[in-house]
């Protein structure tokens, strides 16, 4: 399989008044063509910042301070503004968690979708772009597309808006779709529909997806490979089966155990002790050690990333000699 995207030693830091927040610290992973890669972790672990780093849209005071982002063989961090702008929305698209705040309230849905075409293909006339937008709106399962195209975001339900956003993201047939918690704000029934829509369109458009969520059950359902993030680091990567069947990192273990399952009978759900510390107050060495019940003396030093079985990496002293 060919790698579409490879993130190498990415470091994105936030330079705050109180100190430097290492939101993404030495993160490496890759996504194959046609693959859905799930990135999972609690809120504040750096998964959204990772996504924004790939788009080169990290908000200030954040800055990418190191690493490489190889996309189709080229390092995105070396692209000029204009080159990067051309990639955004055409080769790499992004959809966000809250379709309410992500769609511009003063422009119609159709306008916002058609705009995504015109900014990349100036030769396309506005009328034609509009027609394509209407076609795409229909494609994502919104009834009455012609009328809906003229409506404003707040006139639509949450599910509709998310569909509209997917239409906007896929309109230029991108190679990679980054989906940042695309179903979190939706009702469970709508969630399932949106997921199904995304899988279907991914097949049709032959795109890869970087799927970011805190919800392990979604990851289990749709992704091929999984990265588990904690405290700005990827602590475990592997294909979905080995991660779910043989979790190695105590954090992954905890996450899986705190999720209700039908195939195991348990009296009460496990919960990881403590809560995610703020970006500025992670301990030295392994960032999880204060919440880890297996921590020992070696954890005061930073653990290396080791391959335990083929394609299954973990960053924990328990597994490195």
């Amino acid at each position: 399989m060919k790698k579409l995207l490879e993130v190498l030693n990415l470091k994105t830091y936030f330079f705050l008044e109180e100190g430097v927040g290492k939101a993404v610290d030495d993160v490496s992973f890759f996504i194959n063509e046609g693959e859905i890669f799930g990135l999972v972790g609690e809120s504040g672990c750096g998964k959204s910042v990772t996504a924004l780093s790939i788009m080169r849209l990290v908000p200030s005071p954040g800055k990418i301070v190191g690493g490489k982002i190889i996309f189709e063989g080229e390092n995105l961090l070396e692209k000029s503004y204009e080159e990067m702008r051309d990639i955004r929305g055409r080769k790499i698209s992004m959809i966000f968690q809250e379709p309410m705040v992500v769609l511009n309230p003063v422009y119609s849905i159709g306008f916002q979708i058609a705009e995504a075409i015109v900014v990349h293909y100036p030769e396309v006339s506005w009328d034609e772009a509009w027609e394509r937008a209407v076609y795409m709106i229909e494609k994502v399962g919104i009834p009455n597309p012609r009328r809906r195209a003229e409506e404003y975001p707040y006139q639509m339900s949450g599910g509709m808006r998310q569909r509209a956003m997917i239409a906007m993201a896929l309109i230029n047939n991108p190679r990679l779709l980054i989906a940042d918690e695309p179903t979190t704000a939706l009702d469970v029934t709508v969630q399932a529909q949106i997921l199904e829509l995304m899988e279907r369109l991914k097949e049709e458009y032959k795109a890869s997806i970087l799927f970011i969520t805190h919800d392990l059950s979604i990851i289990a359902e749709i992704s091929h490979r999984v990265g588990v993030m904690y405290g700005g680091k990827i602590v475990e990567v592997g294909d979905v089966f080995s991660i779910f069947d043989r979790p190695l990192h105590p954090y992954t273990f905890g996450l899986l155990n705190s999720m209700p399952r039908l195939d195991k009978e348990e009296k009460r759900l496990y919960s990881i002790p403590g809560s995610v510390p703020s970006l500025l107050s992670f301990p030295q060495g392994c960032r999880f050690k204060d919440r880890c019940d297996k921590a020992f003396s070696l954890c005061d030093k930073e653990p290396p990333l080791v391959e335990v079985e083929s394609g299954h990496f973990v960053q924990c002293w328990l597994f490195s000699k």
């Binding site: 705050l16 008044e17 927040g21 939101a23 504040g44 910042v49 924004l52 908000p59 954040g62 970006l279």
Partner: protein
């Protein structure tokens, strides 16, 4: 108390708010030590400007009159020093009383809601229908000259902003759990307002109050400038500028001849307002909970 220290620390960290604090403190010292800096000629009426003669034409700075004298030989230095007292008096009195009235009115309106709220808000609308300066001008004209009249006029048309602010906070605070809880265990309305809601809604009032110090003093001075505020010969910066007005164009071929009549009082009032504006801005930045949060995804 800790909160106050924390605010002070933040104020000193930022150069522009620091400058504001220094300016305001400087004027405060001038106002407090006015009797020492410029001993009054008539101790019973310290705000009356001493006259250095009867000539109409201003005279330039001299050892007797360090900033010169303005139209009618009023001493400019004396006017500026005692004018600082006037400015603080007007600023504090109008801001405190209009905030007080606004808080009470807004609290009643927001707490009781319903038709009481409807009536009070319409009355507020009526007061807001007048432009501030014009309303103050009319009321001062009707009440007669004098600083006390000016202050009454400024307070009469200055409370509405606070009332709306407090009402808004009340309406949202009412829905919150701690009020519902207090109500459920039968705490009286009065107690709920003063012990539970007000302390939680007072920050916006402090912000608004500190931001409006400058504009209140300017409006009062403007009234004096127009000749409807402080009585003739009273130590008031606005009035001193109105004395300069006839001389500002200078003499033929000598445009700058009477510069001192305008530069000293004009610079003083601008500096005073600048100090308060910088301070008010900084206090807003520090206390505003919306700006306090630092967003990191």
């Amino acid at each position: 108390m800790n909160e106050v220290l924390w605010v002070l620390k933040r104020l000193l960290k930022n150069p522009s708010s620091c400058l504001g604090l220094v300016i305001v403190l400087f004027f405060a010292l001038v106002a407090i030590f006015a009797p020492v800096i410029a001993p009054p000629e008539y101790p019973d009426e310290p705000y009356l400007l001493p006259k250095g003669g009867w000539a109409v034409e201003p005279s330039p700075p001299s050892p007797d009159h360090p900033f010169g004298t303005t139209e009618g030989q009023y001493d400019i230095f004396y006017g500026i020093v005692w004018g600082a007292r006037t400015a603080f008096k007007v600023g504090f009195m109008t801001v405190i009383f209009s905030a007080l009235i606004g808080v009470v009115v807004g609290a009643i309106s927001g707490y009781f809601g319903g038709w009481i709220d409807e009536i009070i808000m319409r009355i507020t609308d009526i007061f807001m229908a007048f432009p501030f300066l014009v309303a103050a001008m009319v009321l001062t004209t009707i009440l007669g000259k004098g600083l006390d009249k000016v202050m009454i006029a400024l307070i009469a048309f200055g409370w509405m902003g606070y009332a709306r602010l407090i009402r808004g906070s009340f309406l949202s605070a009412k829905e919150e759990l701690y009020v519902l809880a207090a109500k459920a265990i039968g705490v009286s309305s009065f107690k709920i307002i003063f012990k539970h809601i007000l302390p939680n809604t007072i920050y916006p009032v402090i912000i608004q109050a500190s931001m409006s110090m400058g504009s209140m003093v300017v409006t009062a001075s403007a009234l004096s400038f127009l000749g409807v505020g402080a009585p003739d010969g009273y130590a008031d910066w606005g009035q001193m500028i109105s004395y300069a007005r006839n001389w500002i164009v200078g003499a033929p071929g000598e445009a700058l001849r009477y510069w001192y009549t305008f530069v000293y009082p004009g610079g003083t009032i601008a500096l005073f307002v600048l100090g308060w504006n910088l301070l008010g801005d900084a206090i807003r930045d520090i206390l505003d909970p919306k700006l306090r949060r630092i967003r990191v995804r």
